[in-house]
Each structure stands twice: as C-alpha cells, then as structure tokens.
Symmetry: C2
Subunit: 349 residues, 2 copies
DNA sequence: ATGAAAGCGCTAACAC
DNA sequence: GTGTTAGCGCTTTCAT
C-alpha cells in the first residue's frame, strides 16, 4: 500500500480512502491511486483491514455434510448473495458428534467470520447458548430457534399435505421412514415431519401406530433395505410409505423394485425435498425450496452484519408444495399396468 | 491475549508459544496459560497471526457450481483433510463466464488463502498464467495442467472401458451425449472422454460418426429431451448412448422412459461418475472416485503449503472402474423382459 | 481534501 | 524457559 501511495504521489491514507470508495477524495487523486493500484496489481489485505475494523469479510457455514442435496442447494443459494455483498464463504462440516464437539471446542468462527449459518443441525440448548456468546450473529437454517434468526419451511404443514395426498388416494396404512443416519441431533425437521404425518392421519380418522414408524440408520442400501424389510414383515404391511427425505424415498423405490414389489401399484412412495433426481425417479414429493433457503439465510446474515438495528429474532418461513408424480397411486391398484418398480436388469457376459 | 497473559501471570510470548504448541514452554506455565485461555474462552485471531506469519490458515476452492454431485463430493473429501491440518475451507463459485471473469478480476484468493484448488474448470492459458502469479500454490482438480499440480482420473481410459463394454454387448451404433451446460470451458474432461469413446469405437472397427455426438445444452429436462430427440430422428438411431456424466445419463433414462422406449432393451444407457443416484437408476457407469480426488487434492495442497520442497508439478491420477448395472444390455434384446424404462405413472384424482 | 501517527492482535527475533 | 520489542498492512482519529 505504501508502494501504491508512493507511485500515486499521495499518502497511504488517501490510498486507503480511495480503495474503500470513500467520497472524500479528489477526482484527480482518485484517478492516480486507481492507476497505481492497477499497475502494481495491488489488492487490499483482508487480514490487515479486519484487524483494525473487526470485520472479517466472510461468513461461515456449519453443515453436517458437504455432499448432500440439501447442503449443496443451500450453498448454491448462498453463494451469489455473499458474492454480491463482497463476503467470502467459509465452510465447516461436522458429520459426527466428535467433529461437532471439536467445532464447538474451537469455535473457529469466533473471530473468523462476521456471521455463522448453522444448516440442518438440531443443536442442544447448550450448544445454542454457546453460539450466542460468539459475538457474531448466528442464523439457523432449517431449524427454528426461538428468539434467534431462523430460516425454514413449515415441515409440519408440508408433511401433512403429503400424507393427505396419500389419504386421498385411499391409503390408511401409511408408514413413516425416519432418517437416523449420522449421529443423533442431526435432523431437526424429523420430529416436525412426523408430527405432520400423525396429524394428517388423525384427521383421516386413523390412529398413528408406532410399528409404522421405522428408522433408517445404516448408511447406503442396507439401512433402507432393513427398514423396508421390517415394514413388509408386519402382519399388516403398509400400502404407502412416506420417507422423511427424498434420498431415502428414492432408495426405498430401488429396494422395492429389486424385491419385485411394484410402485405405486402395491406400495406408494412419497418423499420430502424435491431432490434433483426426484423427477427422474417419478417420485411424488413435498418440495422445499432449498436454494431459496440459502439465499434468504444469506440476506438475513447480511442484514444482521451491517444493519445494527436489524431484527435479531427474525424468522423466515418458506412454502412447501406437493408435487404429484408416478410413485404414488390409488391403494390396491395392483395389475393396473406397468409400474415404476418393475425392472429386469439386462444380462451381461 | 494480553488478558490471558495477565491471568496466567506470564508474558504474551509465553501465551503465544503455548497456544501454538511450541515445546519450549514449561509444563507449569503451559497449564496456567491453558486454564486462563479456557476461562476467558480465548481463541487466537487468525487475521492477526496471518498478518505477521503471511499464512492465512485457509485454502480456497473455485468450482463452477456448489450443488453438483462432483463439487459436493470433492468438498466432502477435502473437508476432513483440511480440518486435520487446521486449515479453513473458503469456497468460491463461478457458474458463468461473467462470474468467472469477476473472480479473476478480483483474485480474492490473492492474500486470502494459502492455496487455491480449481475444480473441473477448463481454464484458458491466460487464466492459468494469471493464477501462476498468485503467489500461492494452485492445484487443478479434474484437469491436467502440465507443469502444475493436478489431480484427476484417466478420462480416456475410463471412457474407453465403458464403450468397450457396450461393444462387447454387440453395440455398434453408440452415441455420445456431451455436456454443454454452463458456459464454454467448464468441462475439461469432455474432450478426453470423447477421445476414449472414439478410440474404443475404432478399436472395434467402427468409424466414429459426428452425427452420433450430440450436445446437451439447455438445462433441466429440455436439453436432454432435445438431444435424445435428435438421436431418435436419425435414419439409423443408436442402440446405445454414452453420456458424459451420470446426471445426463439419468435424465436420458427418464426421457426414454417417458417416450416408452425400453432401457436397455431398445437402447442401452451408459454414464460416467457413479453419482449417488446411479445405483438406484440401475445405471451402468464408469465410476470415478470424486471424494478421493478431493482428499488427494487436499493432501497435495497441504504438502505444497508447508513443505517448501514439495514437487510443484506433481500429478496424481486416480483409477476409474466400470460398474455394470441394468441400464446396459445386449443389442436388440427387445422383448427380453421388463425394463428399466417401463413406467406407467399412477393416476390420481 | 489530505497527511501523520497511533494502534488493531499477533509473532519473531533478540535478550536474558 | 521466558520477557521485551519491533513490526505485519491496514484504518482511523486528529491535525492541517
């Protein structure tokens, strides 16, 4: 910066003012500074400026995984907002409790970011309290945290709408596939989606049964296979399955397909998310605007960062919508035609 | 830090040394510093230390999108490596040429990161040259850049193996679906996969035909629909389709399915990636270890950062492997049974 | 409108 | 093994 100042024939103060776009610089000086900066390809050092301003110029995101549809979508929504605001995006992942504990141990965001976005974690009260003491705004994405900025969809209403759709198709034995992958406390929405599921059942005069709520815990194919196996082994198996997330719904379709159980003719499958792949699996699902959640969370964070009297308890609820596709159908429609589930892999030498 | 020093009854130097884990601190002092730091919940400010050390403690990643399977996988592989090394992960995305130009305009990584990972970009020579002048190591992921650190798979060999599989099944009219989404220069691997495709065809005594190489440009369903439409409109349509990436392969299966063209009985579909969803679509594909690519790239970056005589031209090639599934089958096997493509969406009221 | 100077919180010599 | 001190590259009073 001293170099630029010298080359432009002004003081470092003037260079600093110019580069920050302050109006109190004469056009002449401004021009010369800009030229000099360009010629020396000079860029302001964030570390140095943040040392004095206290602002880091970046926001941190904490997510359970980096390669899930939801996290990817949120990041994709966040990216443009932050770029526009001139903020960098710092990403932390904590896929199990140990990593999560480590994150809270170090609280790296403490001085490293101007805001923290916590994505789809079901934090304990202590963890949240810990974050409150961080000194930077914390935005909860896909989790409602009362009194704290949160961005989410109405999981209860979404799940209710989905189950109503199944009920309207005549289903009464409707199972719920709960995602239990990763350590405990990783799926806040879980409880609420089950609530919506139960509400819709009661609404239809069906008493929710615990045997129809099955956990998918093991990762990969096996977890879903086990869960489906449990359901099919019931004295009275379900005619429809509502998976907490599309990922599992898609796996369920695959597993049923392998077992030659036609979808939706013998079992309807409903998901939640509207994952990119849902349409290609013909999956009926409750769509949630994940990219949009990221965008809104980013804007909320931005507001909290540079508007001192922004509402620090703002909640933003985004809508869900049911997207009917081929994986759900009227109950007991076996023999009505071909189905999503029918597959006969080609043989190979 | 001064507070901690006072509370521990030592100097700031001792605090600094302790917190950085230097051995030259007496156990007694160490303990007291650690206690004091904990009680005051003190964390070292990265900005301040990087100001003097010149190291930022973070690595930057530039990727075209944040919500693609490949980027997500690479980030997932990268995360643990960086965490272990105590490095933060800074993410930049540039989905079109304008954003890309802006990135190079600002070169935010200039002083913001200790290394830059460029993921699946086909950079121009000028862009690469620009990055060379950045002053930090740049690792190319999924792109070979001669003389520069690169991590990739052998796309030619992978594609060749895939097409050989189709040839072995009796296919001779094999189309290639090229991904042309996003702006130009976003898919380095494209050229090499086509090369492998052509090689395998020639090997089988088939002269590659340009009419069988079709671009998928429009995003979403439409692009793939158009491409498949073009292929089906040929005087002699292909009996197999090799998509450059699984995403498009999956869409192709979906489109064919909607058109009631059985897969693989009438058309076999082959992908490249082994996307999470590939198994659920019964997609035969050339698997590439994307998470592993991220991990290796992270280790390479780490080595380049803190080992001054690490090889700055290191190339790491990871293997691909063919995963045969149900979407490919012998040519002309119509009527051989049910198929992946058969779907009759359930009706709904 | 511009410059001089005092730090921001840390690390790296250098003394002890 | 520990303390002192001089900056790292900026921003920000405070003068002018």
């Amino acid at each position: 910066m001293a170099d630029v100042a010298e080359r432009a024939g002004v003081s470092v103060s003037t260079v600093s003012r110019t580069l920050r776009g302050l109006a109190t610089v004469s056009p002449e000086a401004k021009r010369r500074v800009e030229d000099a900066a360009r010629e020396l390809s000079f860029v302001i050092s964030r570390q140095a400026s943040s040392l004095v301003t206290g602002k880091t110029g970046s926001v941190a995101v904490l997510a359970p995984t980096l390669n899930s549809w939801f996290t990817g979508s949120v990041l994709a929504g966040l990216g443009p907002v932050l770029r526009t605001a001139g903020l960098d995006l710092l990403v932390y992942s904590a896929s199990d409790l140990a990593e999560r504990a480590e994150f809270f141990e170090q609280l790296p965001a403490r001085r490293n970011a101007d805001a923290l976005l916590v994505v789809s974690f079901d934090l304990t009260a202590e963890e949240s309290a810990r974050l409150d003491g961080l000194g930077v705004p914390v935005v909860y994405v896909s989790q409602r945290s009362s009194g704290r900025p949160s961005v989410y969809v109405d999981d209860v209403a979404g799940a209710r709408a989905g189950v109503r759709h199944l009920v309207n198709l005549g289903h009464r034995r409707i199972a719920f596939l709960r995602s239990r992958r990763g350590a405990a406390g990783f799926t806040f929405s879980s409880r609420r989606r089950i609530d919506g599921y139960r509400e819709a059942l009661r609404e239809a005069g069906v008493e929710p049964s615990d045997e129809l709520v099955v956990d998918v815990s093991a990762p990969g194919r096996r977890g879903t296979e086990e869960a489906i196996g449990t359901l099919l082994g019931l004295r009275e198996p379900p005619t429809a399955v509502f998976a907490e997330v599309d990922q599992i719904a898609i796996e369920a379709i695959g597993v049923l397909r392998s077992a030659h159980i036609p979808v939706p003719d013998r079992i309807s499958v409903l998901g939640f998310d509207d994952h990119d792949m849902a349409q290609w699996m013909e999956l009926t699902t409750v769509a949630q605007p994940a990219v949009e959640l990221g965008r809104v969370a980013g804007e909320l964070a931005r507001a909290l960062i540079d508007d001192p009297n922004a509402d620090p308890t703002a909640h933003r609820e985004l809508p869900t919508s049911l997207i009917p596709r081929g994986s759900t159908g009227p109950v007991g429609s076996v023999g009505a035609g071909e189905s999503v589930g029918s597959v006969e892999p080609g043989s190979e030498g």
